[in-house]
């Protein structure tokens, strides 16, 4: 399919802006651009058709099953979009006087109140724009806390080897040294290894619970106690909160700071990779360090406050506000009971799908799981040469988004499934049957899996070529 630039016709344009109604003013020559500006020249018809064509080459949640593990691809409710488009939200300048933006501030305050109840935290900031941004913020809070106590030797962050890649990367960005803590075979934290690693140089522990194998760590209270006794703080990576929302709270598990992915757990759309919202919740001890511009209620109205020892700003203004609007809609729809119901159903759906698939392949861990589970194609690959990648790519031919591949790193040939609660039994039955057929075909016709997909808009791309000879923009000279 052609690029916008290849459809461009010199002289073609949309009629968007009126002529100038004030005396013209000339920019001084010394500031004027000489470099040509190659933007496409198109009619509105061209643009509309271009993007409609592109939209047919995309698979979203609304196109079909999307069991992408750790990403919580649940349905994105229509109401969220309608409300987020209200002029009373979209038309508000971030620097207009507080008395004219009380509705926006109430959205932030109300979302904070609900999410604190869900997580067992004292306060929440919405400034971080995504999960990784939330991790960065949370670790800065931990750093500021230790510094404020003159405890400067705490330079290390403990990260289990099953953790999301963002955890160690965030620790490095905040100037900490990463100490990898090995997992036991079930993906839970190895308590002896943790005891050895925790000490006077421990700033904190980052943990996802349920973990990336989809198991709730039954030793969670012992884990957080070990870290606290060593003088460190516990950070909860909320990527997997969807399993326990309304059932158990990170605050009660012994966590001091959490980040949530509103674009996972709270139903806001991923938009092809963002914008999300990485809200960060903290217990009392970290409140004095919160990022700037925290909404508080005073004398019946809302106002912004900067914390005494704030870490500063992690971005301009107050975060991805319209994402918070969507999440608030969702939370109001569900209420406390609905959240619990959603979590339990997510866990039920995962267990049901796991049960249906287990006769056909190996699960990384036996027995019950939380909201997601991991299969390993290690045996399949040895027997048939068909890899986890081949299985995933074959799923594309059936209009199904594949699970997360090759993660967590501690499982060979991993496929991580997270069906979410918004999928029906019929969809799960169909998915299990389809995957069983694919696995069967791995034995009878492995070549067809190596060659898959064949029914998608493109075949498998040459990723090595893309990386070896990077072509990152359209070239007008070619």
């Amino acid at each position: 399919m052609n690029l916008l630039f290849e459809k461009s016709v010199p002289g073609r344009a949309c009629t968007l802006l009126p002529d100038c109604d004030v005396p013209n003013a000339a920019l001084p020559e010394q500031f004027a651009r000489q470099q040509p500006l190659h933007l496409p020249e198109l009619s509105e018809t061209d643009i509309s058709r271009h993007y409609t064509e592109l939209s047919k080459r995309v698979h979203g949640v609304n196109d079909g099953f999307y069991p992408l593990g750790s990403c919580t691809m649940k349905y994105n409710p229509a109401l969220n979009e309608e409300i987020a488009a209200l002029p009373g939200f979209t038309g508000i300048h971030p620097l207009q006087p507080e008395y004219t933006a009380q509705g926006c501030m109430e959205v932030l305050a109300e979302a904070e109140r609900i999410l604190c109840a869900v997580t067992g935290m004292e306060a929440m900031t919405f400034q971080p724009a995504a999960g990784a941004h939330g991790e960065f913020t949370g670790l800065l809070l931990i750093k500021a806390y230790h510094r404020s106590r003159g405890d400067l030797q705490r330079t290390k962050i403990l990260v289990p080897d099953s953790a999301h890649g963002t955890n160690p990367a965030s620790a490095t960005m905040t100037g900490f040294e990463v100490v990898n803590v090995p997992s036991s075979p079930d993906g839970c934290v190895d308590l002896d290894a943790l005891r050895k690693a925790a000490g006077p140089d421990t700033a904190g522990l980052m943990l996802t619970n349920p973990n990336t194998l989809g198991l709730f760590d039954k030793n969670i209270l012992e884990i957080t106690r070990i870290v606290h006794e060593a003088g460190g703080l516990n950070y909860y990576d909320g990527a997997n909160l969807n399993a326990v929302m309304g059932v158990a709270r990170p605050g009660d598990m012994g966590f001091d700071v959490v980040h949530l992915n509103l674009h996972k757990t709270f139903s806001t759309p991923h938009g092809g990779g963002g914008p999300g919202s990485g809200a960060v919740g903290v217990k009392d001890l970290l409140v004095p360090f919160l990022p700037n511009r925290h909404v508080v209620e005073k004398d019946g109205h809302y106002t912004f406050e900067d914390a005494e020892q704030t870490i500063g700003s992690v971005k301009a203004f107050y975060g991805n506000f319209l994402v918070v609007v969507r999440a608030l809609c969702y939370m109001k729809m569900l209420g406390g009971d609905g959240m619990r119901d959603a979590a339990q159903t997510a866990v039920l759906n995962a267990n049901y799908l796991k049960k249906l698939l287990e006769p056909h392949c190996d699960a990384a861990t036996p027995g019950l799981c939380m909201h997601e589970f991991v299969l390993t194609m290690e045996h399949l690959k040895k027997e048939t040469g068909v890899s986890a990648m081949d299985v995933a790519k074959s799923m594309l031919d059936y209009g199904m988004h594949p699970p997360t591949m090759y993660f967590p790193l501690i499982v060979p040939e991993a496929l991580m499934f997270e069906p979410t609660e918004t999928e029906s039994k019929e969809t799960l039955d169909w998915a299990a049957q389809t995957i069983a057929e694919i696995l069967e075909r791995a034995h009878t016709d492995p070549e067809s899996l190596h060659a898959s997909p064949t029914r998608t808009p493109i075949r498998r791309p040459d990723e090595v070529r893309a990386a070896r000879t990077p072509k990152l923009r359209y070239s007008f000279d070619a």
Binding site: Q35, G60, A171, G246, P275, G312, N320, L396, R473
Partner: protein
């Protein structure tokens, strides 16, 4: 009430039976009993109609100003209708990061087109797929420049305060020192910069136009930075870039900016768009997603996420940044916006914004609001005020006008192509009354 759950009670029973447990709570056996909740202390769920009413009531508590003369980092530019229509397509809205290239070509191609447009706008060689906003883009750009020998960032004090704060926050995390370059007459003081620079400085960050709307001597600033072996980062306004010297022409190594003017509503500060572009020499240091062109197994052109060896899911603690989710849908908005405007449309938006600001400045001068700083400016400028700014702005608010942003020593005014002559004349008339 509404949980968006399709399964019926009967189906749930069947599923529980298949799993082999009698009730759903049994799935949580690993959760210690002491922390299992009885329920949340929250109101029960509501119907869609009720939630809709509640949320509309919240929106109604805000005031949407009829006329806006305020910028200061968020700009009320015109958004073509096609932007909203295209970006609300559910396929784009509900897709994840395009890891599976075979079924994500629509998003990958649109990012490739976006990257190309950002390269064109900035004159640079390579762009990433976006970061969170202009402020975090500036902070990430600083991170691209530092190394063991060079660990101090010099940042113009005339940059947007939120950008400065964000750079400081990121640098505090990485133990990088930040020094502010003082201003003189509302512009970055080049003599002061020359005196400050030393061989441990990683980069110089300049904003063009700066926070006060003034045009800086960006070329000279870049030359000074380069003489000392430091990199030059230029923060730009993407619409102004259509007529102002490009970052490339100014000698920038990295160009960043807030992409909000490119089709994103004010939306109380977000979601916005951080764009980043750099020279060929630096592209492997860019943070976050990058889309590249390649071919598929049938030798057809296609697009993939590439250079992933920089990224956190591969490199973990050695990654160039921790960024994962970015502002993809906002990048698409920018691409649709730029496609709709075209080169002439974008230049017109820039010229109209410029002309209206200059008309407003002249009219303000006539009624006792002289400009605080001399020299060239773009669409924003600071004036002194005959009365306290708060008093003046309150009066304007009562007439449904959001006046300029109060800053030290006056008011920072802003115009865009949306401000008609009639609006400007009405503002002037009102100010005359207020100050009479």
């Amino acid at each position: 009430m509404g949980s968006y759950l399709p399964s019926t009670a009967g189906q749930k029973r069947q599923m529980l039976e298949a799993v082999g447990v009698s009730q759903i709570e049994a799935l949580y056996d690993n959760v210690p009993a002491s922390i299992r909740l009885d329920g949340l202390d929250l109101a029960p769920g509501l119907s869609e109609m009720e939630v809709s009413a509640q949320m509309c009531a919240l929106a109604d508590k805000n005031h949407v100003f009829h006329t806006i003369f305020r910028g200061a980092g968020a700009y009320d530019h015109y958004i073509p209708a096609i932007v909203e229509r295209v970006c609300n397509k559910e396929e784009f809205l509900t897709a994840y990061t395009p890891y599976q290239a075979e079924i994500s070509q629509g998003i990958l191609q649109s990012i490739f087109e976006y990257q190309t447009m950002i390269c064109e706008l900035t004159g640079m060689d390579a762009s990433n797929a976006s970061v969170y906003d202009g402020a975090s883009a500036a902070a990430e750009a600083v991170a691209m420049c530092r190394d063991r020998k060079r660990n101090r960032a010099l940042v113009s004090a005339a940059a947007h305060p939120a950008v400065i704060q964000t750079i400081q926050t990121y640098c505090a995390g990485a133990d990088t020192e930040v020094a502010l370059i003082p201003t003189k007459d509302g512009r970055t003081d080049l003599d002061a910069l020359r005196a400050m620079l030393c061989d441990t400085d990683a980069c110089v960050y300049l904003q063009q136009p700066n926070f006060y709307g003034n045009l800086e001597d960006a070329e000279a600033t870049g030359a000074v930075a380069h003489e000392a072996g430091a990199k030059f980062i230029l923060g730009i306004h993407p619409i102004a870039a259509a007529i102002l010297k490009s970052p490339r022409e100014c000698g920038a190594d990295i160009a960043v900016g807030e992409g909000q003017p490119l089709g994103m509503p004010l939306a109380f500060g977000g979601p916005y768009l951080g764009f980043m572009a750099c020279t060929q020499a630096l592209f492997r240091k860019l943070p976050g997603r990058i889309v590249g062109e390649t071919v598929d197994a049938a030798d057809e052109r296609c697009f993939v996420l590439t250079l992933q060896a920089r990224e956190q899911h591969i490199r973990r603690e050695k990654a160039s940044s921790n960024i994962c989710s970015n502002q993809a849908l906002c990048a698409m908005r920018a691409a649709v916006y730029l496609a709709a405007m075209g080169p002439q449309g974008l230049q017109k938006a820039a010229q109209l914004s410029y002309a209206k600001a200059h008309y407003l400045a002249e009219e303000l001068e006539k009624i006792g609001f002289p400009r605080r700083y001399p020299g060239a400016f773009f669409q924003e400028f600071v004036t002194e005020t005959p009365l306290p700014a708060e008093q003046i702005l309150a009066k304007l608010e009562a007439h449904d006008i959001l006046g300029g942003y109060p800053v030290e020593g006056g008011i920072l005014w802003c115009t865009t192509e949306k401000n008609t002559k009639a609006q400007i004349d009405a503002l002037i008339g009102l100010l005359k009354e207020v100050c009479a």
